[in-house]
């Protein structure tokens, strides 16, 4: 839906735009869907000219096909697999988070969603030396915990500080703020060159603005590119809407999904979101567990990979406070219901390799 303007394509001059407007044809959509013969007659322009304009406009506004071979080339050159830093999770996710995709972690309170997010953020910023954007909607991000995890991996204070600087935290508690934030991240800061029109137009061109230094492109200029965007949690801002005006809530949810998807694809970042779980009250135990990710069916199509996190309770030893199980419940690469266990205390190691580092980490905490 774009308004017809004089400089959009050759042949469309301001006189013609005025004439078209008089004939109640304001937008590209109107022009494309109108009867051209009739329109040519009413505006007294040649049918040929209108037909040419329509062709150009259609070409401008359509997507064009790409061959599978080209796509594959592009895939090989642009897709990266970002290790989470945790061997068990990497195994579950087929060696890590894929850029261009949305991965979802779901689980109940205290199931370790935020801890996994912290772990990924720390690993990407410290080991891979890439920038991370962490959108915190629950106030649960604890920088001291990040530091604690960094300390377990390196003793070099300078490296720790650099890693912390590469993690940019956006705090917001509102769906509109989330949308604004995500759109600002995606906005192309260089495009605001020529601004005609009023104050609103200027604000649009400036991409919302207001908060400096948080564009995916800007971040990539200042050393290292953004490789991971983490939204913890996406359900905290969406779930208050559900239950009220349903259509509006759905529309907002799909918009969040859309922008996350675009972000993942266009900027080649791995997107990691967290979600709550709902408990099945009915006795249908079809999916193996009695909990399932929240936000309903429409959201379930959005993430490419979904992982369910749970506490591990063993009959013999009782509750092991820091052991969590991760179950794959949706994936396009691995068989579903793969299950791995990992210990939140030792993020970057398998459970079997122990001793030295464990002691250090415990003495830090």
């Amino acid at each position: 839906m774009v308004f017809l303007r004089a400089d959009m394509c050759p042949g469309l001059d301001s006189d013609l735009v005025r004439d078209l407007r008089a004939a109640d044809v304001k937008t590209v959509e109107d022009l494309v869907s109108s009867n051209l013969e009739d329109l040519a007659h009413r505006c007294s322009v040649s049918y040929k000219a209108l037909y040419a304009i329509r062709r150009v406009l259609l070409a401008q506004h359509s997507a064009f096909p790409v061959s599978g071979a080209d796509l594959y080339e592009e895939l090989l050159s642009s897709t990266a697999i970002i290790s989470t830093g945790n061997p068990s999770l990497d195994k579950l996710l087929d060696s890590g988070l894929y850029t261009g995709e949305i991965t979802e972690l779901s689980g109940g309170p205290g199931s370790g969603k935020s801890q996994v997010c912290f772990g990924v953020a720390v690993h990407v910023s410290l080991q891979l030396k890439q920038n991370v954007i962490y959108v915190d909607t629950t106030g649960g991000l604890s920088a001291s915990r990040l530091l604690q995890m960094l300390r377990a991996q390196t003793c070099n204070v300078e490296e720790q500080m650099e890693a912390l600087q590469r993690i940019r935290v956006c705090r917001l508690f509102d769906i509109f703020a989330l949308l604004h934030c995500l759109h600002t991240l995606c906005s192309d800061s260089s495009s605001s060159s020529s601004v005609e029109g009023g104050a609103v137009a200027a604000a649009v061109a400036a991409g919302g603005g207001g908060v400096e230094g948080v564009s995916l492109q800007q971040a990539s200029v200042s050393g290292g590119s953004v490789k991971a965007v983490i939204v913890d949690s996406v359900s905290a801002v969406i779930s208050p809407l559900l239950g009220g005006n349903h259509t509006e809530a759905m529309s907002l949810m799909i918009q969040v999904a859309g922008i996350l998807r675009t972000m993942a694809k266009d900027f080649n970042v791995a997107v990691l979101v967290t979600n709550h779980v709902t408990r099945n009250t009915s006795s249908s135990r079809s999916c193996g567990t009695d909990v399932q990710p929240g936000l309903g069916v429409s959201w379930s199509h959005i993430p490419r990979t979904r992982v369910l996190l749970e506490r591990v309770e063993e009959a013999g030893t009782g509750i092991q406070p820091s052991v969590r199980s991760a179950t794959l419940i949706k994936s396009s690469r691995q068989p579903c219901f793969l299950r791995e266990e990992f210990d939140l205390r030792f993020w970057s190691q398998t459970k079997t390799s122990t001793s030295g580092k464990r002691k250090r980490e415990e003495s830090d905490s």
């Binding site: 106030g139 991000l141 920088a143 990040l146 600087q165 993690i167 509109f176 609103v200 905290a236 239950g243």
Partner: protein, 330 residues
């Protein structure tokens, strides 16, 4: 991706006007002068102003961004409120943290309210004694705010501090730190139902502007008014927005938020289990969750959920002076 107009916090009529005029995405607004916009969409100047605010992202709750290093510095500056139970403080690395939501769950009589009262007094310990010297807003929904108890606890804390006096600053500080000042710095709000609680929270920013030294918000309990809302979807929605609102308050005004919650029984097959009330979804709202319970005729507190603490189980007792460590020798 084109940003849809639906993603802006606009009022209903303005959005409809823009839609009917053919605007769908924000880019449609580009290159239009303001007067053209008014003409085109048939909106008023007031509407344009609102639109402008929305596009700039100023309306409603704005968002902030910082690197985690800056956040770490900020965390280093913020303080925690001691609970006078050193084991509990240790498990929470310093006590009830400022800027976060802490939830205390437990069965009746296990000491949820006592913990709240204790923290409400402790937050007022003057800075010269290592405290925060802050004021308290206490939202009481159960009528559990007992003046007699708070007087006992306050007297004990004052006594404790007066024993610590060493230098002149502290000598001066103790003169103004009395039971009367402690009581006068606690603002009690008695709420009977959830509407009053929500209304109070909406008005809280104004209150906080008038009383800038407030650094603790207690809601005792959040379960009581919300538990018996009949329509479950409405309850969930209200609780979710309450959670967001509390997080927002905690971070924006640098408040420690302490809420209490009841326990309920969940049936799993033939087994039953005691779990915190208000549903699983609410469990995501508090940053830290403490579970108080009886274990072999001993009161224990369990850190169930916390982003930066290990799960821990500590013993405590409630004496006439308030919450204290368990004395091993007795």
């Amino acid at each position: 991706m084109q940003r849809s107009l639906l993603s802006l916090p606009l009022n209903f009529s303005l959005r409809n006007k823009l839609f009917n005029a053919g605007f769908r995405v924000i880019a449609d607004l580009q290159r239009l002068t303001d007067s053209e916009l008014i003409h085109e969409a048939g909106v008023s100047q007031q509407d344009v102003l609102e639109l402008l605010q929305a596009v700039r992202g100023e309306g409603g709750d704005a968002w902030s961004s910082s690197t985690s290093l800056e956040l770490l510095q900020k965390e280093g500056e913020s303080r925690s409120i001691v609970s006078f139970c050193s084991q509990l403080d240790e498990a929470l690395s310093g006590g009830v943290p400022v800027g976060k939501i802490t939830e205390v769950c437990g069965t009746p009589g296990v000491g949820k309210t006592q913990l709240c009262l204790q923290v409400a007094v402790d937050v007022q310990i003057p800075p010269c004694f290592g405290g925060l010297g802050g004021h308290v807003i206490f939202v009481d929904t159960e009528g559990g705010f007992l003046l007699q108890r708070i007087e006992d606890i306050a007297a004990a804390v004052v006594r404790h501090c007066s024993l610590l006096v060493e230098d002149d600053e502290q000598r001066e500080g103790i003169l103004t730190f009395t039971v009367e000042t402690i009581l006068s710095n606690i603002y009690v709000v008695r709420c009977n139902d959830y509407i009053e609680v929500l209304a109070q929270l909406h008005l809280l920013p104004d209150f906080l502007l008038e009383h800038p030294r407030t650094c603790l918000l207690v809601i005792d309990s959040v379960a009581c008014p919300f538990r018996h809302i009949e329509v479950v979807s409405q309850r969930t929605q209200l609780l979710q927005s309450l959670g967001l609102q509390l997080t927002n308050l905690a971070i924006r005004y640098n408040l420690a938020v302490l809420v209490t919650n009841h326990m309920t029984t969940r049936l799993q097959g033939s087994q039953s289990q005691l779990v915190p009330a208000l549903g699983e979804l609410w469990g995501h709202a508090p940053t830290i969750r403490l579970l108080l319970q009886w274990l072999n005729s001993q009161r224990v507190a369990i850190v169930v959920k916390s982003p930066d603490h290990m799960e821990a189980i500590v013993q405590y007792q409630i004496t006439s002076d308030g919450l204290r460590d368990v004395d091993e020798s007795v």
